[in-house]
């Protein structure tokens, strides 16, 4: 674990090494000062040698000043090293997360990744700083004090040697007991984060349905769990201080008893006893520091493990060796495709079972089916957001797993129903599709997506600033911006996953018309709830429970397919009732 993490010290190696060096200097100075003071008293004052007092006094002042300087320098380097280390860690994690497939992200959950990137990294950062400062300082002080104690009276100093192992065992016991609880605490932190995150994202729904109380109850549940676990963990750690004091107080009492007898017996001086006890206090204070660091390390250990999990996670979707770098055309072929999610149980039904479809380049395919009929799953397989469990999918005649992932995803654009816009201007958002797109190009795709009209009506036009999540445009407008963004990629395959659900039927028809006329060579897959959105497609796939129920044109399906007929009739009737549908949202 340490080896893996130490790699991330990287360019801050210099600072990480300088810190302990300055700490050592600082300790040396601190040790010299009492020695010099003793000299002043024992030699200078006793002999009445003023010259000597001034000379040593001057050295004393210099030492004190140096000690302060070294202390400051070590603090400075420690801060730089630890925050640099944390920066590298976050960078490393972030880069690896970018490679994650959906399966990887599902495994961790978004909220957990957020906690790992923030809280866990902070814990490790703190521990790292402690390790390079205190963990160097305390043992040196300890060794020095022990050595001095031994040089004064080795028999008395043996008391330390006898009591230390008992303390070590106690500390070890505390650590092993507390660690699992801290681990659990962080897992609960993930849940806490998730509840807050969900609440933030869905705040409109929460308010609209007056679900505040329900949300609060949900939050209270995790909150109490975090409270309980933290208490359990800290209860164990609370034994740390008393255990330390018990050891050192026992030492002092033993020293006093045995020491007193030795003095009376004439084998030791009274002054020696008092200095050996002074060293006992020094040992106590360094042990206290050590125990403090110790607690930090226990906490950080759980965090470090969580960080390493993120770093070690290998993407389930990887490039093959010598991947294909070019997608020939937009044809898609599903051959005996079955799919199952990783976390599903064996007896669970397959979300997709034995799918065979042959889509020609440039064809427009509609997919309809009830909610939960795996419409989205089927299209997620095409840009390899998930990999098939059985069978194969070929794009342009080549298995998707043989392509370079970036090449494949550039050619397969997916527009989701609940799509994401980022805070920034409309233009910036559109350029996610293609960084180098010219203004003319942007206007062209917006016209195709029927977005140009409303954008031109904004006072700032394409420079209109969108709020986080695009809350200042309507749902239908947001969807059209997202379609334009996907078009800017000039993909060979365009997948609209229920992405015109909030657009009125008239505009929806205009978008499809524009697609037909302007990008005839792009394969278009349209998933929809609304029959009018797929009605004029070249072929329509009816999905039912992860299986293909029927394929054909609307006319054919009306004759042969029960499900299609039923949906068609119920929706057409509804349309006649309220005339043209107005924009939702």
């Amino acid at each position: 674990m340490i080896k893996k993490l130490s790699k991330f010290i990287g360019q801050y190696k210099k600072d990480s090494i300088l810190t302990p060096i300055f700490v050592i200097f600082e300790v040396i100075m601190e040790v010299i000062i009492p020695y010099l003071m003793a000299k002043i008293i024992d030699v200078g004052v006793q002999n009445g040698d003023l010259n000597y007092i001034f000379k040593i006094g001057a050295i004393l002042v210099v030492s004190a000043f140096l000690s302060l300087t070294f202390g400051m320098l070590s603090g400075r380097f420690a801060a730089k090293a630890s925050s640099g280390f944390a920066k590298n860690l976050r960078k490393g994690m972030f880069y690896n997360i970018q490679n994650y497939s959906f399966t990887n992200i599902d495994k961790f959950s978004t909220s957990s990744l957020v906690t790992r990137l923030t809280t866990d990294v902070t814990n490790v950062q703190m521990a790292f700083q402690m390790i390079i400062r205190i963990l160097v300082r305390a043992p040196i002080m300890l060794i020095f004090a022990l050595a001095m104690a031994f040089s004064i009276n080795s028999r008395l100093a043996l008391i330390f040697v006898c009591t230390m192992p008992i303390l070590a065992v106690a500390l070890f016991f505390i650590a092993t007991k507390a660690h699992p609880y801290f681990e659990k605490v962080f897992r609960k932190y993930d849940v806490l984060n998730r509840v807050v995150g969900e609440n933030l994202n869905a705040i409109r729904v929460v308010k609209a349905y007056n679900r505040e109380e329900h949300e609060e109850k949900k939050f209270e549940e995790v909150n109490s769990k975090v409270y309980d676990l933290f208490k359990k963990a800290e209860k164990i750690v609370a034994f740390n201080g008393p255990a330390m004091q018990l050891t050192i107080y026992t030492c002092i009492l033993l020293l006093s008893w045995i020491g007193a007898k030795m003095i009376v017996g004439g084998s030791m001086q009274a002054g020696e006893l008092s200095s050996i006890i002074t060293y006992a206090w020094q040992i106590l204070s360094s042990l206290m520091m050590l125990s403090f660091v110790f607690v930090m390390i226990i906490i950080a250990q759980s965090s470090a493990e969580r960080i390493i999990e993120v770093l070690d996670e290998e993407s389930t979707i990887k490039n093959k060796e010598n991947p294909v770098m070019e997608v020939k055309d937009g044809s898609i072929k599903f051959e005996n495709v079955s799919f199952q999610y990783d976390d599903a149980k064996a007896e669970d039904e397959l979300p997709l079972e034995d799918i065979n479809i042959d889509i020609k380049s440039g064809e427009t395919i509609g997919i309809i089916g009830a909610t939960g009929s795996s419409k989205s799953t089927i299209v997620n397989l095409i840009p390899r957001l998930y990999d098939v469990t059985k069978g194969s999918i070929k794009v342009g005649g080549i298995d998707v797993r043989d392509y370079d992932i970036e090449t494949l995803r550039n050619e397969v654009a997916v527009v989701l129903q609940k799509n994401v816009l980022f805070s920034g201007t409309i233009k910036e958002n559109l350029k996610w599709g293609n960084k180098e797109a010219s203004d003319e190009e942007i206007v062209r795709v917006c016209k195709l997506a029927q977005a140009d009209g409303f954008i031109q009506e904004f006072p700032d036009k394409y420079d209109t600033i969108l709020d986080q999540g695009g809350t200042n445009v309507s749902g239908g407008q947001k969807q059209r911006i997202c379609i334009a963004r996907a078009l800017l990629k000039k993909p060979k395959i365009l997948i609209l996953d229920d992405s015109t659900s909030a657009v009125d039927t008239k505009t929806d028809a205009l978008i499809r018309k524009a697609f037909r006329e302007e990008i005839p060579n792009t394969t278009k897959i349209i998933i929809a709830q609304r029959i009018t959105s797929v009605e004029d497609a070249d072929r329509i796939i009816v999905l039912d429970d992860g299986k293909i129920n029927g394929i054909g044109t609307s006319e054919e399906l009306l004759k042969t397919n029960e499900i299609y007929k039923e949906v068609y009739e119920s929706q057409k009737k509804g349309d006649e009732d309220d005339g043209t549908k107005t924009e939702e949202n």
């Binding site: 992200i105 957020v114 609370a238 996610w432």
Partner: protein
Amino acid sequence: MMEQKQKKTKNAFKTLKRLLKYVTSTYKLQFVVVCISIIVSAIASVLGVQFIKYLIDDIITPLIGNGNPDYSNLLQAIIIMAVIYILGIVGTYLYNRLMINISQGVLKRIRTEMFHHMQTLPIKYFDSHPHGETMSTYTNDVDTLRQMISQSIPQVFSCAISMIAILFAMFATDIYMTLFVLVMVAIMVLVSKFFAKRSSKNFIAQQKNLSIVDRIYRRNDGRTKSC
């Protein structure tokens, strides 16, 4: 500039006062016990130092040269000291243990109140504040508070008690010497204050940056999923 600074320190005091109110209001009795335990623990450790002086001067020295020493006085002194030490240890455990109840309880309450308050905020707040920033208050900022409540507050209190006790002992030994030390301490405090100010500024920046990391991550997560 000066005014701003004053306002800032005033605000900091207000925050501290508010935080202390959280600590003292719900857990009044426990907090009183914690204070007493800290006093006991601090006095025990100061007495520990004084004990050695007493032991050497008043107990051991008279015994030196005594051919047939009577150790009963020594034993008695050590037993008394042992009792004081045990009280000190019990005090330390008690305040550590109770402080957990208090700090975790306060944190839980703060989280609950924060979440409750969040539910009452208008949508506008959520549109104008990045979600990452709000989220990191629940974890990063509350975590920092945990350290403050469970470590800093008792430590400050415990040190203050020891300081007063030691000061008394010092004045009893030599008034002028003590005054000189106090002047030196004053200089030291000024120096560390200067550094503390600088470091707290950077620390605030760090917390802010963490919330940005959070934000960037959420943003990017969206990208991995959508395009």
